[in-house]
C-alpha cells in the first residue's frame, strides 16, 4: 500500500498530489511537465515536499506534521532514473552490488537478478562498453538489489528508441511477475502502462486527476489524454485460456466468457489487455443466428451517449457495456438505438469483429510495432 499526499514547489503551478494504491505495479501517467518526476523524486527523498505525508506499507517516509523526513539512503527505495546513471568507474558487478555493500538487502539476491535480466555476459564490463538497452537493464538490476520497500522507475525507456524499448519491456514484465516488488512506473506512453501496470495514477498540471485499476481509469479517460490508442474503444483485461494451434488462435477468458485472437506467445494463465474499438462491435438482441463472427461477449448496457465531439442529434451513439466487471464500447447509429430500444440495464450480446491484443505478448511478435495496430478481423 502506497499512500501519498503532498504539496511541493514545481514550476508555475505547484505540485499537489494525493493518491493511495494497493496494487503491486502502479503507473504514474501524464504528459511531460505534469510533475511525475517531481513526485517520484519526493517519494525517493531527493526532493523535499512542503507539506503532507508519504507512507509505504504503513511506514512513514515523510510526514511534515510529525517532523519525519527519512533521507534517501534510509528509505529502502530502488530508483531507476531516465538515464541509467551507472557509476562509470565501476564494472557492472560492482554497480549491481553497490547497494548491497551499503547494507541494503533486497529479498532477492544477485544471482536471481542476474538470471532474470540476463546480465551474466555483462558482469565484468564497464558501463561505457554497454549499449543503451543493456545500461538500462543494469540500472534496473542495481535498483532492484537495493529495493527493500519499493521500486521507482522514472521513464526508464524514454531514452531508448522503439526497438530497444521492445527489448526491455519483457524484462520489466518478468520483474513484475517473478519478484512481486511494489513498483511505481512513470510513463507518458499508454502502451507501456497497459502492458505493465495493475493500477494507474493520472496526473495533469501537478495534480492527480484519476487513480484506480488500469482498465477502469483508461476507460474513463478523455481521448486526448489517452492518446490515439483509444479513439472510441475500450480496454478489457483477459487471461490466456489456451492455444488452438490448428486454427492459429489463442483463447482468452474474460470473466466466464471466451474471446479468440490471432495466436500470441503468452503462456496459459498469464494476463494481458485487449483493446476493442467501438466500431468493431456489433450489438445484438437474442441469438444472431449463423454469422461468421465468433467472438461474442454478453454484457449489460451501462450508458448510451453521443461520441466525443458530436451533439445529441448526430447520427451515432456510443453504448458502454459492462462485461462481468470489464468495459466494452460499441458505436452504433442513433437509429439502431431507437429500433432495438437500447437502454441502460438491458442485456445484449456484443459481436466483436477484431480485437487488438495490446500487451503481454513476447517482444519478438511485436518488435516491428511501436504503437497499437489493429489485428485483421476474422469476419
Amino acid at each position: 500500500m502506497i499512500e501519498v499526499d503532498i504539496t511541493a514547489r514545481l514550476g508555475a503551478f505547484g505540485l499537489e498530489a494525493a493518491f493511495s494504491v494497493t496494487e503491486t505495479t502502479t503507473a504514474l501517467f501524464g504528459p511531460s511537465g505534469c510533475g511525475k518526476t517531481s513526485l517520484v523524486r519526493a517519494i525517493a527523498g531527493l526532493q523535499r515536499p512542503r507539506a503532507g505525508h508519504i507512507r509505504v506499507n504503513g511506514v512513514p517516509l515523510f510526514d511534515a506534521a510529525r517532523g519525519i523526513d527519512l533521507p534517501p539512503e534510509k528509505r529502502g527505495i530502488g530508483y531507476v532514473f531516465q538515464e541509467s546513471l551507472l557509476f562509470p568507474h565501476l564494472d557492472v558487478r560492482a554497480n549491481l552490488l553497490y547497494g548491497r555493500r551499503r547494507g541494503r538487502a533486497a529479498p532477492f539476491g544477485l544471482a536471481e537478478v542476474v538470471r532474470l535480466l540476463e546480465l551474466e555476459p555483462l558482469l565484468d564490463r564497464r558501463p561505457e562498453r554497454l549499449s543503451g538497452g543493456e545500461r538500462q537493464r543494469v540500472a534496473i538490476g542495481r535498483a532492484l538489489l537495493a529495493a527493500t520497500r519499493l521500486l521507482l522507475l522514472d521513464e526508464p525507456l524514454s531514452s531508448l528508441d522503439a526497438r530497444r524499448k521492445q527489448e526491455i519491456l519483457p524484462f520489466l514484465e518478468r520483474v513484475r511477475d517473478d519478484l512481486r516488488i511494489p513498483a511505481i512506473y512513470v510513463s507518458h506512453a499508454m502502451d507501456e502502462v497497459l502492458r505493465l501496470a495493475d493500477a494507474m495514477v493520472v496526473m495533469d498540471q501537478g495534480r492527480v486527476v484519476r487513480a484506480g485499476r488500469v482498465e477502469d481509469v483508461v476507460n474513463q479517460l478523455e481521448p486526448p489524454a489517452a492518446g490515439s490508442w483509444r479513439r472510441g474503444g475500450a480496454v478489457l483485461r483477459a487471461v490466456v485460456a489456451g492455444h488452438h494451434r490448428e486454427w492459429g488462435l489463442t483463447g482468452l477468458r474474460v470473466g466466464s466468457q471466451e474471446l479468440s485472437v490471432p495466436a500470441i506467445g503468452s503462456p496459459p494463465g498469464s494476463w494481458l489487455r485487449v483493446r476493442i474499438r467501438a466500431r468493431d462491435v456489433i450489438l445484438c438482441m437474442g441469438d444472431p443466428g449463423p454469422v461468421s463472427t465468433r467472438n461474442r461477449l454478453r454484457g449489460s448496457i451501462l450508458s448510451i451517449r453521443p461520441p466525443e465531439g458530436q451533439g445529441p442529434d448526430g447520427p451515432e451513439m456510443d453504448v458502454l457495456l459492462d462485461v462481468e466487471g470489464g468495459r466494452l464500447r460499441a458505436r452504433v447509429t442513433r437509429q439502431s438505438v431507437a429500433d432495438l430500444a437500447l437502454r441502460p440495464g438491458l442485456s445484449v450480446l456484443a459481436l466483436i469483429k477484431a480485437a487488438a491484443v495490446e500487451p503481454g505478448a513476447p517482444a519478438k511478435e511485436h518488435a516491428d510495432r511501436t504503437g497499437p495496430a489493429p489485428v485483421p478481423g476474422k469476419g
Binding site: P72, Y98, G99
Partner: protein, 238 residues
C-alpha cells in the same frame, strides 16, 4: 645530480620542494571545498567569493606579499592570534613561504577541481544515495574517484605555481638562505652577484625541468577526466 650542486644550491632546491609540497597538500581540502561550493551550490555572494579566490592571480605578487605581511606579521591581526594561540610564527621562516605559495596556488587548484566536478552529473550522487550511501559516502565512493584526475591536475598545477612563487615570498618572509630562500629567490640572488651567473643558469635549467615534468603529467591526467555523455546532457526534469 647533487654532486653538481653546491650545498647552498641543494638547500634551495630541497627547501623549494618542501615549501611547494607542504603548500599544495595543506591547501587541498580547502580548495576542494571551495571547488565543490562553486560547482554544486548557489548562494548569495557567490560571485564575490569567486572573485576573492582569484585575487592572488590578479594582484601583483608584491602587493599580495605585503598584505600577508600586514595580516600575519607578529603585530598583524592574524599573526598575533596564531602566536598567542599556538606559538606559531610565520614571518621570516619556511612556513610563511609555504603560506605565500599556498595562497598563490589556491585559485589554480580551485579552478581545476571545479571543472572536474562540473563534468560529473550530480544525479550520480543521488543514485548512490538511493542505493544506501550517506552524502559523505556518496562523495567518496562516486564523485571523488571520478574527479581524481582533476584533483591530481590541481596538485601538479598548484605545485608548479608554488615552486615558482617569488614576489609574495620575498616581500613576506624575505630571502634567508636555508630558511626562506627557495629556487627563484636563489636564482635572483645568484643573478645579482657578479661571477655567479653559471650557478643561476643551472638552477634555471632545474626549474624548467621540474615545471615541464609537472605540465606534461597534468596534460596526461587531464585526458583521463570523465566526459559527460550526450544522454546526460539531454536529461531534463519532467
Amino acid at each position: 645530480m647533487t654532486g653538481l650542486l653546491t650545498p647552498w644550491e641543494a638547500a634551495a632546491l630541497w627547501l623549494s620542494l618542501k615549501v611547494a609540497l607542504t603548500a599544495v597538500f595543506a591547501v587541498l581540502p580547502l580548495a576542494l571545498g571551495c571547488a565543490w561550493l562553486f560547482a554544486r551550490r548557489d548562494f548569495p555572494g557567490k560571485p564575490l567569493l569567486a572573485g576573492l579566490v582569484q585575487m592572488p592571480l590578479v594582484l601583483p605578487p608584491v602587493v599580495f606579499g605585503y598584505a600577508l605581511l600586514l595580516l600575519f606579521g607578529r603585530q598583524g591581526p592574524l599573526g598575533g592570534l596564531l602566536y598567542d594561540l599556538f606559538g606559531v610564527t610565520l614571518i621570516f621562516n619556511w612556513k610563511g613561504a609555504a603560506l605565500a605559495a599556498a595562497a598563490m596556488a589556491f585559485p589554480l587548484m580551485v579552478r581545476s577541481m571545479q571543472l572536474a566536478l562540473e563534468a560529473v552529473d550530480p544525479d550520480l550522487e543521488n543514485a548512490a544515495r538511493t542505493l544506501g550511501a550517506t552524502p559523505p559516502a556518496a562523495f567518496v565512493t562516486v564523485t571523488l574517484p571520478l574527479i581524481a584526475p582533476g584533483v591530481l591536475t590541481a596538485l601538479i598545477l598548484g605545485f608548479a605555481r608554488a615552486l615558482g612563487e617569488f614576489g609574495a615570498t620575498i616581500t613576506f618572509v624575505s630571502n634567508i638562505p636555508g630558511e626562506t630562500q627557495t629556487l627563484p629567490l636563489a636564482i635572483y640572488s645568484l643573478a645579482q652577484t657578479p661571477g655567479m651567473e653559471g650557478g643561476a643558469l643551472l638552477l634555471v635549467i632545474l626549474s624548467v625541468a621540474v615545471a615541464l615534468a609537472a605540465t606534461l603529467l597534468s596534460e596526461a591526467l587531464a585526458r583521463r577526466l570523465p566526459v559527460r555523455s550526450g544522454a546526460d546532457r539531454r536529461r531534463a526534469l519532467r
